[in-house]
């Protein structure tokens, strides 16, 4: 049937060096659609309870959705596993064209299990799966590995995902790099891949992705593209990528500075979009088929680190490797970013870890290494730490490679107070003082501190209306309700798999029209929210099963501590009483009990009580009927 799906998962066992093809059952398509939905269901059903995230039984999945690899604008891919940083569900999204290629090879997703005995990489060309030795590639950085794999294969046109040294060495915030500057960054998926001794995956496919109603689909694509064209945020992204948010964030008082001590950077004009345009940008790039083209490719041409090619320095990276470290030279930030990309680390968590180390050194809780004095503003110290973390060369690198939560526990004293994370995932580049909604969003996001599961700042400061009304930024009123609405809607869209930036423009109605035209099903607009709510609850159940402490729906002490002393939001703070009140309301609206556990009645309403499990044995496609049916 033509429904946007390829109808098969590829299931690879690295230990046995075998692969299976599994049918994607209709009920899974209907109830979970793709991406995050598939991931939540498959991880719940296939990962043994209490699985060691870095052990052979954890699953590493690359999942697509029905709209991926079609002209539907701004679609990405989703990587799902149990996170070694949080020990809970991890879904990390990545653009580029790796996901598109999964479908061209004939699959809706790749499920990887087991651990290889020696370093390997996978070569997937339609039905042909090869386990190839990565002995000579192991130890190289993420971009070099891409080049070496293509060379080894003699296929320049293959699309490759790799890990850097950080992933090999088990750094808990290491990423998976999909060529070139697109990464599944957060939560340590790279460490899971490294633990499996899987250096890379190269893929190329010749299958066609077919939609159910081509004419309707064409129209829906046109409409979605028009949505994007007429959205101011999308044009700003085309113009200067996420860097346009740097001056905005600083001007409203939410740009973190010195490990979130302040939320305003006095030297912001050195690191904003104009500075990047002047010193870096040369041309554009986009993820597969995306009209927004938020990527600004460029090069650092002058200065100490010249010269190298760089992507745009994204908002989050500027915030976390720039202002939050009090580093204000855009070329230095580009260099630190490049180190993160090549060594294979999430720049958000890496930046947070360095900021934490700088503060710990300031408080004399840790000692600076011989080669670099740990202090805010020092590019040299940041560079030193990034390398020693990724290469796990010394004690300090080993300590910090576990992320701020575990590092702080080992350091002791008051270190946990300024270790800025939720559930083990470091807090990204938006302050919470003066934005209670964002505080609640971090505290409740399913994968730990994340700004992409709901972004109340958009209402509080960005001018978005809630049910036609202006939202008062500093008040806690309605924040739980607004956030839950966003979390559900976005989780619904993460099954498709939308890029956040596409969702700035494309309306709910347009998404549903795209989905209906592709699948041939008639679903109402409310389907997205309902689907999202079901998935959000399923993930919560998974996290509770894996031992989530519900007391961890909270913020670190530093963020609920004293008021801001400078900047536009001077005097603002995030009171822990306010957080508690919002959280109570949040649990109530979610139909969770006071401990944050979904109540049985609600699970029934969501259809999460019925026990339909995805099992590999049941979905196995016998090799002889292994044909793609059009």
């Amino acid at each position: 049937m033509n429904d946007g799906y390829m109808g098969k998962f590829l299931c690879v066992d690295l230990e046995a060096k075998t692969s299976l093809k599994l049918k994607v059952p209709d009920w899974l398509k209907q109830d979970y659609v793709g991406g995050k939905g598939f991931g939540a269901k498959l991880l719940s059903d296939l990962a043994p309870p209490g699985v060691d995230p870095l052990g052979p039984d954890n699953l590493l999945m690359f999942l697509t959705g029905p709209l991926c690899s079609t002209p539907a604008p701004a679609m990405r891919t989703c990587v799902v596993c149990k996170s070694p940083a949080t020990h809970t569900f991890l879904d990390s999204y990545v653009g580029g064209r790796f996901g598109a290629e999964i479908k061209f090879a004939g699959y809706d997703g790749i499920i990887i299990r087991g651990t290889a005995s020696d370093p390997v990489y996978l070569w997937i060309e339609d039905d042909r799966i090869e386990f190839r030795s990565a002995a000579k590639i192991w130890g190289s950085d993420a971009l070099k590995a891409n080049e070496l794999i293509k060379q080894d294969l003699g296929h320049q046109e293959a699309t490759v995902a790799t890990i850097g040294q950080a992933g090999e060495n088990g750094v808990l915030f290491s990423l998976i790099c999909c060529e070139y500057n697109r990464q599944a960054g957060r939560g340590g998926a790279g460490a899971v891949m490294g633990s499996k001794k899987l250096k890379g995956i190269a893929i190329k496919g010749s299958q066609l992705v077919k939609v159910n109603r081509p004419d309707l689909f064409q129209q829906a694509v046109k409409k979605a593209n028009r949505d994007i064209e007429s959205a101011g945020d999308c044009s700003a992204l085309t113009e200067s990528g996420t860097s346009y948010a740097v001056p905005w964030s600083s001007s409203i008082g939410l740009l973190p500075y010195k490990n979130h001590s302040e939320q305003h950077d006095p030297k912001v004009n050195k690191i904003d979009d104009a500075a990047q345009d002047k010193h870096l940008f040369l041309g554009k790039s986009a993820c597969f088929g995306c009209p927004i083209r938020c990527s600004q490719m460029g090069a650092v041409r002058t200065g100490k680190f010249a010269s190298f090619v760089t992507d745009i320095i994204e908002y989050e990276t500027v915030a976390m490797l720039g202002s939050n470290l009090a580093i204000s030279n855009i070329r230095d930030i580009a260099y630190l970013n490049k180190l993160c990309d090549t060594l294979g680390m999430d720049s958000i968590s890496a930046g947070a870890v360095i900021a934490f180390a700088f503060e710990a050194a300031e408080k004399e809780l840790i000692q600076s290494p011989e080669k670099a004095n740990l202090e805010f503003g020092s590019t040299k110290a940041a560079e030193h730490l990034l390398k020693s973390i990724a290469l796990q060369e010394d004690e300090l690198g080993k300590l910090l490679g576990q992320g701020v939560k575990k590092a702080a526990e080992q350091i002791g004293h008051d270190a946990p107070d300024f270790a800025l994370h939720v559930k083990g995932l470091e807090i990204p580049g938006w302050g919470v003082k003066g934005s209670p909604g964002m505080g609640l969003a971090y505290a409740t996001a399913d994968r730990g501190a994340c700004h992409q599961r709901g972004f109340p700042i958009g209402y509080e400061y960005g001018g978005a209306l809630y049910k036609g009304e202006v939202v008062e930024p500093h008040s806690i009123e309605k924040k739980a309700e607004i956030l839950i609405g966003d979390q559900n809607y976005l989780a619904g869209l993460d099954t498709l798999i939308k890029c956040d930036f596409g969702a700035f423009g494309v309306t709910a109605q347009s998404y549903i029209e795209l989905l209906n035209a592709v699948t041939g099903l008639e679903r109402p607009q409310s389907f997205i929210d309902e689907l999202g709510e079901r998935i959000w609850n399923l993930v919560r159940l998974f996290n509770l099963r894996e031992g989530l402490d519900t007391g961890s729906d909270t913020l670190p002490a530093k963020l609920t501590g004293k008021a801001l002393e400078n900047g536009p939001l001077k005097g603002q703070r995030m009171k822990s009483e306010d957080l508690d009140l919002m959280l109570k309301e949040y649990y109530m609206i979610r139909n969770w009990d006071r401990e944050g556990r979904p109540i049985t009645k609600h699970l029934k309403q969501l259809g999460l009580n019925k026990e339909r499990r995805f099992s590999i044995e049941k979905q196995l496609i016998a090799p002889e009927n292994d044909e793609v049916k059009d």
Partner: protein, 128 residues
């Protein structure tokens, strides 16, 4: 993608008639499209005489009936920019036929990066 949909009824840029090459970590992109050559290498080497110029659109097209999917894939081999391919499934050559005069890639390029330019040669032959 619009191209593979036009040719084969589904999406996959590897089965489209144009290539977009990327270089230097995606710093540069080069769209490579058939030149609809005046000196038509692909047609000259075809043993089955399957390649000819469509008089209406000016495009060089493959006669699907005549193409025998020769083993050596001569047309591909001798195309200077490798924009004629033999489809692995149909074993027939395919290439850009300008979609019969109104190219889908141009129509569906949301960014306007592609456009159809008509180059008028001295002998008034239309080209891309």
């Amino acid at each position: 993608m619009a191209c593979s949909a036009w040719l084969f009824g589904g999406y996959n840029p590897h089965r489209s008639a144009l290539n977009i090459d990327h270089a230097n970590e995606n710093l540069y992109h080069f769209p490579v499209v058939c030149n609809q050559c005046e000196n038509t290498y692909c047609a000259k080497v075809c043993p089955a005489d399957a390649i000819y110029r469509d008089q209406e659109t000016g495009a060089i097209v493959v006669d699907q009936e005549k193409c025998v999917g020769c083993k050596k894939e001569f047309c591909h081999e001798y195309c200077p920019i490798k924009v004629i391919h033999v489809d692995p499934f149909t074993r027939k050559a395919y290439k850009c036929d300008l979609c019969g005069g109104s190219p889908r890639c141009v129509e569906s390029c949301p960014t306007g990066a592609l456009e159809l330019v008509v180059r008028v040669n001295t002998d008034q032959e239309e080209d891309r």
